[in-house]
Symmetry: C2
DNA sequence: ATAATATACGCAATCGATTGTTGTTTCAAA
DNA sequence: TTTGAAACAACAATCGATTGCGTATATTAT
């Protein structure tokens, strides 16, 4: 178990007859070091294969070039893409990315917040879990001036960066689209209403209905806890049994929308003629299911990029955390066959 | 930008009139510290809200409680699930997980290997990129006795842990299944043949064909570089144009298999009656496409768990890296409608 | 009672980079 | 030639935990 020693600034100092301080500053292009010296040091560092020990620097600076991520579950298309965007952007600036997942359990979220804090992350990117209502587990970050970016599922109020999509407009437009296709009784698979994204989508839905001379029917609005495949199926079943069933469904996610398509088809209902359906997220399945699912697309990778940039700016410029900045991205209604009545 | 100081072992030492060494040892349950002392220290640490500074320990020990992950792309179902398994298992042992993705580019893979090395990770879990043939960028880890686990896409020979599925058997069984359904001319969408998993699946396919009295027809074997949707479609087109088209397809992944289903259906070919199809991976889309796609399931999360356990064992017991241990997991042929001719 | 062995704990160096302070050169202007 | 400023570089403390070695006290055996 012999380990080859790494090259340190002390080795370079000895070689060049400078002090370690000078080496350190030269490597960081500090202005108090002469140009020739700086160049010489960097050249030698290169030759010696010097690689800075980030741990030492982190210990000294009490912060790391690491971004922590908190997600509910990473093996879902949206979240995976979010992480992809984060990781790519972070790595360009030599930041590492630590991930955690909460399984949508509040308890895990609190634990993970602590774990990441202990890892001395330089910034945090969070998409809240379903259960989370209280956000005090993030207070410690604020106290230490560690930047937090909430993405997508964000808290109502928290002095931090927030990167979101315009869920209200998205819900409005998706619903409007169904109305334009001639739907008169549009159902809505809503998510848990204490989660902002679902709340806003529903609000958009409601306003669209009202503003187009249609009637909101509470019977057609189903709050699904997790918007899972099973829940979607059950909900569809319930809707179809109604005396006056809907002729359109706006589902707050694709999973439930797909289950609606499959179940309705099974019951011999024609999509989109008898029942037009639109989902949310533009998951890969939406292109595969038949009929292909109309949906609302999320710029997931971009959201990851933007979130990361916020952190990086903050970390680099050592800004103060007393910011509350909201970046709102646009969504796009993607019309596919499950809602397009003008096809044939 | 005032920062509240964290509690350190020095604070505890002062409080309890012990030396920092004693505190450190007591917190680590070192045997050279008395029982009462240990208990007292731990109690006080708890009261004071002491949280160890992992950076300091890492610097001293020259290793971190962090596992590095190298993947080609994390927003794909299999890889995302793999990471899920890794992260969950790691966190239970207070290890963090750093992820990197190469986009299947060799250059990125080399860069990421360096970046993770610089981060002083305690172990590495890798699924090789498509382009990777040379693995010398991992040599530095071996030299430093840092454990490496290759998962799924592993190198032919490398003195390390490898966690894989039995690709040969999987390919054999998938093909055999098609034969049992009455297929006589079975095509194969093979992946890049320098990647072990695809090579083995093809081998299983070939042997199954031969051992069941069928004829291997090179015309029916298509090496798809990336097994993408587009490639799959093109390949299917080519196959269907053949004078003597196939009556079955075994695709080395689900994406290409799904594209085959969609294209064939578009051309009016009946699945599975005229063309039976089986994929690989059990991606979510396989349950959605119509007909639902038969496939081979990968125990992705479990693979992540096992890989992580290997690392943890190694890190905890400080074993030597001179191991070459292969863990082979079983797969399961999942018969759905795209290949089941006995349905109606 | 004394030597021998445990047991319990402290000293101080160490990991590698950073940085406020201080000291020395260098060069130009007076 | 002197003086002042700017440029350059070194000293030494610091971040917090770990650990080899050494010492002091307690326990046991003889």
């Amino acid at each position: 178990m012999k380990k080859k020693k790494e090259v340190t600034i002390y080795d370079l100092a000895k070689e060049l007859n400078f002090s370690p301080s000078t080496i350190s500053r030269a490597l960081n292009n500090h202005k108090s070091i002469g140009k020739k010296t700086t160049k010489k040091v960097q050249k030698t560092a290169e030759e010696f294969g010097y690689r800075p020990n980030a741990l030492a620097a982190s210990l000294r600076n009490n912060t790391t070039k690491t971004i922590g991520i908190m997600m509910s579950r990473i093996n879902r298309p949206f979240q995976a893409s979010l992480i992809t965007g984060i990781e790519k952007t972070a790595r360009k600036s030599n930041f590492n990315v630590i991930i955690t997942q909460s399984d949508d359990k509040y308890e895990n979220e609190v634990k993970n917040a602590k774990a990441l804090y202990d890892a001395r992350i330089g910034g945090l990117i969070v998409s809240l879990g379903m259960e989370t209502q209280d956000t005090s587990h993030f207070d410690q970050y604020v106290k230490q001036n560690i930047p937090i970016v909430f993405v997508d599922r964000v808290p109502e109020s928290f002095n931090s960066y927030r990167v979101i999509i315009d869920n209200y407009a998205a819900g409005y437009r998706a619903t409007k689209h169904l109305i334009e296709q001639g739907c008169k009784r549009i159902a809505h698979f809503a998510g848990a209403q204490h989660v902002n994204v679902y709340h806003l989508r529903k609000k958009g839905y409601l306003d669209a209905i009202n503003e187009h001379g249609l009637q909101v029917d509470e019977e057609l609005i189903l709050d699904l806890k997790t918007l899972s495949f099973e829940e979607g199926k059950k909900a569809t079943k319930k809707l179809l049994k109604l005396e006056n069933p809907p002729d359109g469904i706006f589902s707050a996610n694709d999973t439930a929308a797909v289950s609606a398509i499959l179940y309705a088809k099974e019951k011999g209902i024609k999509i989109p003629q008898e029942l037009a359906i639109i989902g949310f997220n533009d998951d890969p399945i939406s292109r595969i299911v038949e009929p292909t699912l109309s949906t609302v697309s999320h710029p997931a990778i971009k959201m990851g990029e933007i979130s990361t940039k916020k952190i990086l700016e903050h970390a680099t410029r050592k800004l103060d955390t007393a910011v509350s900045e909201i970046t709102m991205l646009d969504t796009e209604v993607i019309v596919r066959n499950s809602s397009n009545r003008n096809l044939k």
